[in-house]
């Protein structure tokens, strides 16, 4: 029985990766919407960007073009720059208000 199962050939195609990337992206989107901790929000945005990276690589593989793979490097650099700036702002806020959540950041209203 087990031997038979292992004989079932499963080909992992680019579509699988596209679906995985879509799911990761969705997890990131939901995370940004429901979480309260600024650092977690930030991680969710990074997850979204990396889901897009996976999409780029999978699509590049699917259409046989190297451009999508090189794009990933640009996105990684942008993500790194965002990390620097985002952490800077978050640290500045946490220094003023330790353990601040997004609920504490509601001074601006109209």
């Amino acid at each position: 029985m087990i031997a038979q199962l292992s004989l079932v050939a499963v080909t992992v195609t680019a579509t699988w990766y596209l679906l995985l990337a879509a799911m990761l992206f969705a997890i990131g989107v939901v995370g940004v919407m429901v979480r309260r901790n600024p650092l977690i929000l930030f991680m969710c945005i990074e997850l979204m960007l990396n889901a897009v990276n996976l999409t780029f690589v999978a699509l590049a593989r699917k259409i046989g073009d190297v451009g999508g793979q090189s794009t990933v490097f640009f996105v990684m650099v942008v993500a790194a720059a965002e990390v620097v700036v985002g952490l800077g702002i978050i640290v500045a806020i946490l220094r003023r208000k330790p353990n601040a959540t997004t609920d504490d950041l509601a001074g601006l209203k109209g």
Binding site: F25, M48, F56, L59, D65, G67, T71, I89, G107, L108
Partner: protein
């Protein structure tokens, strides 16, 4: 052997000189300030203004070359050199120049003087110029991020005000969120077209070439995601939620920069993506642009009415202006194609430059009236301004009338341009909505004027910090007023210049 086969693209250095000047100016400012003794007063602002002027002049020189030789692409099709790109580059350079002059006294008043904000202006301008000249979705994304990341820092740059940091983090989280959507859109378009280059997308997604439309869902989802990202950047409803908080929280000169240069760059990029990369899909995105424009017009002006803080009012007013510019985009979407041209495109470009000057002038007055710590930006802060500073109140009145679109001011010419472009393509519903929303928005500007001219003084008004208007601020405000009035009364030259 390997070195011989690896050949980089040809670079036309003169054509990209505005970008290089902005970059060089920013780096020089940061490095030189760190290595030299303290600079005298005004020198950061004047250096920034000089750099922006140099970049603007170089763009004007390119203009003549484009006139003679026509539009062309640069650095292996990554950038395009044409009139709309140069027009937006010049608009952004003007915005940097004027914002630097406002910032000078602001930073000393707040006790946070330094070269950082100026360097960020220049870098953000660099991003904006790249964005509006991009000929490839990835280049556009890089320009967008250079602009956005600089803007996040600028919004949060007032270390003494909690509001500034709150605005900064909100902008950062929502901006990063929308950038991820935008990037996902790029990935899907790439999957459908096989390239991120505008020319290749145009060919790859051409219905006449590919009778096989199995990629439709992928491409349509990609277009939708691109639109979300761009609508966020231009602050269009329903992606405008960050605008009031960020505009109120950010230091006022930075707000002026976001509303002028940021908007110009984002609309430049939007036109380019819709017109040059996706002209064959205009039937699909044009209704979406129509819907966004309608919503933006109505929500922007209605929400502005219920605010009590002038910076928030102006934030919603800028949302409503984004709606007006979207009317031009919608009109342009009726006649898409590369190279982009037509009434829709030129009305958008003209609106952008007029609005940039107008909004910087308005925020310059708010900078002065806000007093130390931007503490008095409520309507009450404007009370009695006409008595204490009649000229300032007069300038503000002219600028507000122009924002409302009163004839004989630049705002009228701008609004007239987009509405007539819409009427030309028979978008009557949108034109009528625009005029109604202009009436609603006029009420907002009237409220500020009433507060300045008519509202009685209250006890304690005399003990408030007095409004100071230093020389550079006067120069800025009076030139903004002069530009608005000149364009309003003699619009011919600007109209004939617009591509």
């Amino acid at each position: 052997m390997f070195a011989a086969t690896l050949r980089g693209p040809a670079v036309d250095w003169f054509a990209i000189s505005p970008i290089l000047v902005l970059l060089g100016g920013a780096l020089l400012l940061l490095v030189a300030d760190a290595l030299t003794p303290p600079w005298p007063k005004h020198s950061f602002a004047l250096f920034t203004a000089a750099t922006a002027t140099a970049a603007g002049v170089l763009s004007v020189l390119q203009w003549q070359r484009v006139d003679e030789g026509g539009a062309r692409t640069l650095i292996g099709d990554a950038l395009v050199l044409d009139r709309p790109a140069l027009w937006i580059a010049i608009t952004i350079c003007v915005a940097v120049l004027v914002c630097a002059l406002i910032t000078d006294d602001y930073l000393r008043r707040e006790g946070i003087d330094g070269p950082e904000l100026y360097a960020l202006y220049l870098l953000a301008a660099l991003g904006g110029v790249v964005m509006s000249a991009a000929n490839d979705l990835i280049v556009l994304f890089l320009g967008l991020e250079i602009l956005s990341i600089a803007l996040y820092v600028m919004a949060a740059s007032h270390r003494k005000r909690a509001e500034s940091q709150e605005g900064g983090i909100k902008y950062f989280v929502l901006g990063g969120f929308s950038s991820a959507f935008f990037l996902y859109g790029i990935a899907l378009i790439y999957g459908g077209a096989g390239s991120t280059n505008f020319g290749k997308i145009r060919v790859g997604l051409s219905p006449t070439l590919g009778s096989d439309r199995t990629n439709d869902a992928l491409v349509l989802a990609g277009i939708a995601l691109l639109l979300v990202g761009l609508a966020f950047k231009v602050a269009a409803v329903p992606f405008h939620f960050w605008t009031p908080d960020v505009y109120q929280g950010a230091p006022t000169p930075v707000t002026a920069f976001m509303a002028s240069a940021g908007k110009a760059a984002a609309f430049g990029a939007m036109l380019r993506v819709l017109m040059e990369a996706l002209p064959n899909w205009s039937d699909d995105y044009q209704p979406a642009v129509w819907g966004i424009a309608m919503l933006t017009l109505v929500v922007g002006s209605v929400m502005a009415v219920v605010q009590t803080n002038v910076k928030r009012m102006l934030a919603f007013s800028s949302v409503s202006h984004a709606g007006f510019i979207l009317i031009g985009v919608e009109a342009a979407a009726h006649r898409p194609g590369a190279p982009m041209s037509g009434d829709g495109v030129s009305s958008v470009l003209m609106y952008l430059v007029i609005y940039a000057v107008l909004v910087i002038g308005t925020f310059a007055v708010v900078t002065a009236v806000g007093r130390t710590g931007d503490a008095a930006t409520d309507l009450s802060g404007f009370r009695g301004l006409a008595r204490n500073k009649p000229l300032l109140a007069l300038a503000m009145t002219v600028l507000l009338l122009a924002q409302a679109g009163v004839p004989l001011t630049g705002g009228f010419i701008a609004k007239f341009g987009v509405i007539s472009a819409a009427v030309d393509v028979h978008s009557y519903a949108i034109a009528i909505t625009a005029m109604l929303s202009a009436v609603i928005a006029a009420f907002v500007y009237l409220r500020i004027m009433v507060s300045m001219w008519i509202t009685d003084a209250e006890a304690g008004d005399d003990t408030r910090e007095s409004v100071r208007v230093p020389a550079l601020l006067w120069v800025t405000i009076s030139s903004a007023v002069a530009f608005t009035l000149v364009v309003g009364m003699f619009p011919g030259w600007l109209v004939s210049l617009t591509p």
